[in-house]
Structure formats: structure tokens, C-alpha cells
């Protein structure tokens, strides 16, 4: 049996069964989740053994039939989706009941189908179909919150998602007109730099950045992710946005590799940097936990777009492999951390009826495990060792040093500090039963100088230590 087709067919089959027997939706959904995870495991094992997998569907050879393909990158995302999907399924089985469960399960399994289909697709038009299925099921799930705000946010999400898909499709039309094929590998082999390829790249990657919520096209994400039910928020932030990032990466590295310019890479990097700063800033000022988590997603997506300029500056070899590994590591870490965060917030919201950060006092006493989850997810988001994003950020910094692109280093460090600030803002409230202080600074004249000294000791010296070497080494370099 063909494991690639099974990884798409099984969640789809489960979605159909859950549609037909709504009263048994939860049980059927859980069984479907297990079967889907097992199929994903099969694909991952085969990729592990053979390196690459591919198959042509429908009994037709490649230009005529549709290719499914898997390599290390798709296997990694498939694995993340399987684990996060299983966790979300278990959580949702306890979270939803009655009519909500009946609505949730078929849509969630359709979403999973679309994710697996997208990670395994080797055909440009098939990718569009999976994008549509992904977008529509994500929008419908987001509206399950039921109130007016959730529906309004979902409608905006739908319009943005459709615009992104159409833009992607326009690019595919150009490529098909020029090269007479839809197969990713074939088009990649035939692609020549020129106006057609450049227009297709702009349309496709531009449309996908909208779906990936890259600054300044992130405006739809915070309301949509913050107003959805917790398991849905987790799926949207951890998986759905990542699917668009994965596709950008796939197109950037596989399809448009001969075409990408330093200018285009710098543009993506610059937008990513702006996303890191803006997203972290808004997360720092969010009043509700879910909004904080959503803005944190905007920022974390930003980090991923710091990689293209470094790819551009790094010749193929171990350095570039390190960068790719770091990028995937950061995608995975954020996927796990953010889904954990949203699920934990869901617990707090169900218990206390709200998710206002200012009123979290005593959460550590009432929900120790959930508070610990917030802490662990926070560690991963900040990138403290030994989390995956620590290694990811370390390699990212290495790449930036090696290629002399100093600007990114500043962005990464600032973003990390701000992440630490918003994570500790939540944790300090959660661990604190005392009334919260009215403001950060109580007596500016005495406190600020001390704060400044501490900041220099903790941060300033680390960044500005370089001049010490010539100063202490005095005269060795001939000055």
C-alpha cells in the first residue's frame, strides 16, 4: 500500500465518517487521528530509510498524473503535524461536547487532510487545491467560537486567504503557460530567469506571505487566532501558518532557486525583522493571553523570514545545511511551543472564565501543571537552552556573523529580549497572589539609574565588548 496516498486518504476517510455519524464524531475523530498519525509515521520511516519518496497517482506517468513526493523537509513537517494533531485531538475530545463536537471533528480532519496533502504534494496545481482546502476548513473552524467577533475575524481571514490563493494560482497559470507542465520538479528543471518566472515568483510568494501573515500582511491573524476555540487556535498558529511558510521555503529553495536575488531575500528578511519587533511589541502590550499568543506568532514567523538573506549569502555546503536545519528546528519548536501555549490558555480560560493577563494571579496555585506548561512553552519561545529554538537561534546568529549581516543580529537579540519580557510578564502574574503593582517604575529618579547600570551589565557589555580587545591588547595590531 502506498503510504503517501494513505497519509491523505485516511484523515479524509475519517472526516467523511464523522460527517455521516455526527453522534459518534468524537470517537471516529480520535480513531481517525490515530490512523493518520500511523500513516504519517509510515511515510517518515520510509523517508528515513530511502531519503526521498515519490509516486504518481491515478496510474499515469508524471506530466499527466499528479506526483506525491516526500523528502526530509516534508517528513519533518509531517511529523510535527502528527504529534501536534494527536495532542489537539485528545484535548478537543475533552474540550468540545454535543453540537460543537459534531461541527469540529469533520472540519478538523479535513484540515489535517489538507496539511498532509500540502506537505506531500509535488504538483503546482495540486498545491493550490490543498491550499484551498486548508484555508476553507481553517476559516470554518475559526468561526466555531460562535460570537460575532469570531465570525467577523473569520470572514476577514477567508477574504485574505482567498486573495492569497488566487495570487498563487495566477503564478501557476503563468508557469503552466510557459512550460506546459504542472509538476514541480519538471517546471523547476525548465525554468529560465526572465519576466515570466519573475512575475510568477512574485505572485506565488507574495500570495503565500499573505497566508503566512508576514508583516505587514499579518493584520488578519491576531483577531482570527485569538477568537477561535483553544484547540483551533493551536492548530491555526502551530500548523496552518506553518504550511504557508513551508510552501514559501519549498518554492524558494526548489523551484525558484536560480531566480532569487539578494534584493528579494533582503526584502523578505526586512519584513521578517519588522515582524519580530512589531509582533513582540504588541504581545508585550496585549491584555489577553490569547492575543499575546497570537501576536507572538506574528513575531515568531518573522524569525523564519530572517533566513532567506542568509541562504543567499551562504554558498552550498555545511554552512547552508546548518541554516536549513536551524530553520526547520525553529519551525518545529514554534509549532510545539505555540500549540502548547494555546492549549494551556484554553485550560485557564475554561477554569476562570477569562484570559485577562492582569487577573491571572493565583493561577500557579490553582493550575500548577498548566502554569508549568506556560513556563516551558515560554522557554522555547524565548530560545533558552536546551530548547530547539536556542540551537536554531544560535545557528541563525552564526550564519549572520559568518556572512557579515550584522543588522539581523540586533533584530534577533532585541526580539529575544522582548519575548522574555512578555513571557515573564505572564509568568509573574500567574505565580503571584499579591495585588499587581500599579506601574513598572515607582520612583523614576532613583530607580532608572540603577536599572541603566543593570542593563549595561546584563546586555550592553555583551554586545559592546568588541572594543575591549584592541584596548587591552594595546598596540599589537600596530596602532
Amino acid at each position: 500500500m502506498d503510504s503517501l496516498a494513505l497519509a491523505v486518504a485516511l484523515p479524509l476517510l475519517a472526516a467523511l465518517l464523522a460527517t455521516v455519524w455526527p453522534a459518534r464524531a468524537t470517537l471516529l475523530g480520535l480513531l481517525g487521528a490515530l490512523a493518520t498519525a500511523a500513516a504519517a509515521l509510515m511515510v517518515i520511516t520510509e523517508v528515513w530509510e530511502h531519503g526521498q519518496l515519490s509516486t504518481a497517482l491515478g496510474g499515469w506517468d508524471i506530466p499527466l498524473g499528479i506526483a506525491l513526493a516526500a523528502d526530509g523537509l516534508s517528513a519533518a513537517l509531517l511529523a510535527m503535524t502528527a504529534l501536534v494533531g494527536l495532542a489537539i485531538s485528545l484535548y478537543a475530545a475533552a474540550y468540545f461536547d454535543g453540537r460543537q463536537a459534531m461541527h469540529f471533528w469533520p472540519l478538523w480532519l479535513l484540515l489535517w487532510t489538507a496539511l498532509n496533502g500540502l506537505f506531500l504534494a509535488g504538483d503546482l496545481f495540486n498545491l493550490y487545491v490543498t491550499l484551498e482546502l486548508l484555508g476553507l476548513s481553517a476559516v470554518a473552524l475559526g468561526a466555531l467560537g460562535g460570537d460575532r467577533a469570531a465570525v467577523a475575524a473569520s470572514l476577514r481571514y477567508l477574504l485574505v486567504s482567498l486573495l492569497g490563493s488566487i495570487s498563487y494560482l495566477l503564478g501557476v497559470v503563468l508557469l503552466y503557460t510557459a512550460h506546459g507542465s504542472l509538476d514541480l520538479a519538471r517546471v523547476a528543471a525548465a525554468l529560465q530567469p526572465g519576466p515570466v518566472a519573475a512575475a510568477a515568483m512574485t505572485l506565488m510568494i507574495g500570495g503565500l506571505t499573505m497566508k503566512a501573515a508576514l508583516f505587514p500582511l499579518h493584520f488578519w491573524l491576531p483577531p482570527a487566532h485569538a477568537s477561535a476555540p483553544a484547540p483551533v487556535s493551536a492548530a491555526l498558529s502551530a500548523l496552518v501558518v506553518k504550511a504557508a511558510v513551508y510552501l514559501i521555503l519549498r518554492l524558494w529553495l526548489d523551484l525558484f532557486a536560480p531566480l532569487v536575488t539578494t534584493g528579494a531575500a533582503m526584502l523578505l528578511g526586512g519584513l521578517g525583522a519588522a515582524a519580530v519587533i512589531w509582533g513582540s511589541w504588541r504581545a508585550l502590550h496585549a491584555e489577553r493571553l490569547k492575543l499575546l499568543a497570537a501576536y507572538s506568532t506574528v513575531a515568531q514567523i518573522g524569525y523564519l523570514f530572517l533566513f532567506p538573506p542568509l541562504f543567499q549569502a551562504t554558498p552550498p555546503g555545511p554552512g547552508r545545511d546548518d541554516l536549513l536545519a536551524a530553520l526547520v528546528l525553529m519551525i518545529l519548536t514554534h509549532g510545539f511551543a505555540k500549540s502548547a501555549l494555546f492549549l494551556a490558555v484554553g485550560v485557564i480560560q475554561k477554569r476562570s472564565g477569562h484570559d485577562r493577563i492582569a487577573e491571572l494571579g493565583g493561577t500557579a496555585q490553582r493550575l500548577p501543571a498548566t502554569t508549568f506548561t506556560l513556563g516551558l512553552a515560554g522557554i522555547a519561545l524565548i530560545g533558552l537552552p536546551p530548547s530547539g529554538s536556542f540551537t536554531g537561534k544560535w545557528l541563525l546568529l552564526n550564519g549572520a556573523f559568518a556572512s557579515g549581516q550584522w543588522g539581523w543580529i540586533l533584530v534577533i537579540l532585541t526580539g529575544t529580549l522582548m519575548t522574555a519580557a512578555y513571557v515573564f510578564r505572564v509568568l509573574s502574574r500567574a505565580f503571584n497572589l499579591e495585588p499587581t503593582p500599579p506601574g513598572f517604575v515607582t520612583d523614576a529618579r532613583t530607580e532608572l539609574p540603577a536599572l541603566l547600570l543593570a542593563a549595561i551589565a546584563a546586555i550592553g557589555l555583551g554586545l559592546a565588548a568588541a572594543p575591549l580587545w584592541p584596548l587591552l591588547g594595546g598596540g599589537e595590531d600596530g596602532t
Binding site: L57, A140, L144
Partner: protein, 226 residues
Amino acid sequence: MNRTPSLVVALLVAPLALVLLWAFHEALTQPSGARLADLAETSLSRTGVGNPVTAVLLSYRGYDTMLELGVLLAALLGIWSLGRVSPGFHPPELALTAMVAWVVPLLILTAGYLLWAGAERPGGAFQGGALLGAAGVILRLTGERRLGLPSERAQRRLAIAGIGAFLAVGLGTAAAGLGFLAYPESWSKWLILLIETATTLAVGMTLAAAYPGGPPGPAGNERDAP
């Protein structure tokens, strides 16, 4: 609406459109090797159908069509999850009611014809399904609350019929060692007809049920109050 921003938008969009048109022209004039359309024509005899569009939708790229039906299903489930809507229709005029008694059976008949004709001529499951959906919409416009649709239970079965047929055939051929959705040549025509019939029903039912918005209503109270 004030007109200045829209004029600015038009001025900004126009050069973009020109660039796109130029790129499209370049793409058209670029010489390319074997085109997919030629290949689709030459392989047509092995698909069991004579209409190249049907061959693309059901045979060459059946997997795409299956997922597209998934999109339709997601849309319908999404609409159903949004809760009930208030009926906002005027009671129908006599002339409309009389005409509908003719139009609806004709639409259903034509849908059946299109489904059968699709194998050799323009037509097929989506066109036939669209007509069935239209029949439901017209019934709704004359005050028929349930659009001629069966119970919710039956609607759920119909909604998945197309994908269900695709999956059953696909998993069957995969289990037989042929590969997912790889129809054996001698069975191809009939398997395609089976999938198309199920798809016609699913598309028609989905389009009709999507039109009024909200989940299927409870039984009884079949017509709007005059």
C-alpha cells in the same frame, strides 16, 4: 465613497496589470516542449471516456477533483456550523409557482442528461450538479423551506457521496496493487461513471443546501407562510 482613493488605486493597479499582461504574453510566446494538452489528447483512448475534460477531471487528475470536493464539503460544514438564519423570502407569485412546476423537473432531467453526456461531449458531474443545485434554489425561492432536500441524515450521506466514491475506488485500486485511483483499463469507463454519478448528487445537494445558509431545518413547517 469619495473618488480620489479609488482613482489612486486604479492608477496603482493599472501598471501592475500591464506588467502581468506583458508577462503573460511572454509566457505564451515562449517555445516549450511537449505540452500537457497534447499528451492528454493522445492518451485519451486509455481513459475509457471520449471527453478530454472529463478525462482530466476524473482520470488524469482525479486526486485533485477528490480534494476539490473536500473543499465543497468544508464549505457546507462551515455554513452548517454558523447556526440558523431567519427566512427572508417573500411568498411567491402564482406565475412563479406555475413556472417552477415545469422548470424543476426539466432541470433534473437535464442534469441527468449532462451527467451521461459528459463521457463523450461537454457536460459532466459538476455541470449536472450545478443544475440540480439550481433546481433546489428555485424551489427555495417559491417558499419551499427544505428545497426539495431529504432529511439531515440523508443530506449528510449525500454530501460525502462524491468523495466517498473516489476514496472507495482509490483505496480499492491501491489495495489491488494498482496504485491510488489507478483504474484498470477495462473497468475505467464504469468506475468513472460511478464516481460521476455520486459527485453529481453530492454537488447538487451541497449547492442547494448552501444557498439558504444555516443547518437543515427540522421536519414539518415545509412552506413559508403565505
